[in-house]
Homo-oligomer: 239 residues x 2
DNA sequence: TAGATTGTTAATCGATTAACAATC
DNA sequence: TAGATTGTTAATCGATTAACAATC
């Protein structure tokens, strides 16, 4: 069976799925599984880039350093994406995982705080790769307002609510000093934003329940590295 | 019992522990526990800032939104830091957790890549708060070399190995384009660095086993937010 | 002493892995 | 058809929670 035929199988599955997806009753999926999905997304993207058409759970497990069992179990939380005897069509699987992760949702984001971190993020291809468009930045610094970073204009903070409402913003990225985080989060709630990607290190108290927050604690990540180095050092001292 | 007395208990425990710590045989601690330690560290720091002297696992559990059982279980992986009937001395507990996480190790770090992300990190108080000092930055851009960010000088990439060796650098922070990540990681191995904090999104293959890598995949974090928003959207559509 | 709260063991729950029948 | 590999159930493993005796 050659690559073209496999391509066709993929497309057949895809067609089939369009009819199914609306009716498929989605059961609860554990956070452990969800957290692994972006990693599949990355590896599948890489496989496509390398021209790989088909992969078995066993082959993928070796590349990703996980068990084949876990891969099959994970994928089957969302439906049968493979074919017995053949494995998985890479492009099709990538498309399904993208769909699950909302890559095709065209979410719109604003970055609040045009400091170094805000600028680093807006210039990062990450958003584009994941189907999120960064449509504006906000800052209090008058000297930044009106300027652009990676083609994105910096707006004054006063315009935050109006802008978010008028442009139906889904995601706000908080890259501002932690002192302002709570106040801005409150304003974002009333501006109809659905998700906050929070880099401030402040744990946010939100009145509205239906707003999702994902916190990025870079310091926590640094500390796990320090823990390991400390462990290593102690081991070496013992010798 | 007043605050002064509790303070004394804390100090007594601390004195006691100094003798013990060298001999205490450290059993395996699961990654699940390790990952939670930095969060305890943050909350305890905050409690100290607010002048809180003593806390019970029950009280802390309410603040941190976890079970009291988990807190006691977690802490007891490293030793008995509390006192029956009284709870935990906040400063003492903070000191012990800092010790476990290597905050007092005075690790020395270099930041490789003086772009926006590198600059955002070097200006962040995170390193200082966690006892890590950022002693140098490196870049290939001639126009940046010799300049400083947050008092840290940018060196040319050619000096990387010599500098790391001579200054006994523990940690390298990779904030450079993913294309160069693998090459630089190799050079860092031979330069005697013990830990890599990797922001490049490239999974590193390292020859030396005794070098620890912590990967930060910001895109993965963004995707979990998108997943939740997608879920929310689907739920609303069903209504 | 009585009350409170830890440290720790036992029970439960969830996540991972193994195994294999179904089927491409 | 025979071989390969999935989807899925059952077994194992680990992590969380509950309970309570120890003890401050």
């Amino acid at each position: 069976m050659n690559n073209d035929e496999l391509e066709i199988i993929g497309e057949m599955q895809q067609d089939l799925e369009i009819g199914e997806s609306a009716s498929s009753p989605k059961a609860y999926v554990s956070p452990a599984v969800i957290k692994r999905l972006p990693r599949y997304f990355r590896y599948l993207r890489e496989l496509i880039r390398n021209g790989k058409m088909r992969i078995s759970s066993g082959e993928l497990s070796k590349i990703m350093n996980v068990t084949a069992s876990q891969i099959r179990q994970d994928l089957n939380c969302f439906g049968g994406f493979g074919q017995q005897g053949y494995g998985y069509n890479v492009k099709y699987l990538y498309a399904k995982i993208s769909e699950i992760l909302g890559v095709n949702c065209n979410f719109k984001a604003v970055i609040i705080g045009a400091g170094n971190l805000g600028r680093a993020l807006v210039r990062n291809p990450m958003f584009t790769k994941r189907g999120v468009s960064t449509v504006a930045m906000f800052d209090i610094d008058k000297s930044l307002i009106g300027g652009t970073f990676a083609g994105v204009t910096v707006h004054p903070m006063e315009e935050l609510e109006t802008f978010c409402r008028e442009n139906a913003i889904d995601i706000a990225v908080l890259t501002l000093p932690k002192e302002c985080a709570q106040e801005i989060a409150g304003r974002l709630c009333s501006a109809g934003v659905h998700g906050i990607w929070n880099f401030t290190g402040k744990e946010l108290d939100l009145l509205i329940k239906d707003i999702k927050v994902v916190n990025v604690h870079l310091g926590d990540s640094l500390m796990t590295l320090c823990y390991e180095l400390n462990l290593l050092r102690e081991e070496n001292e013992d010798k």
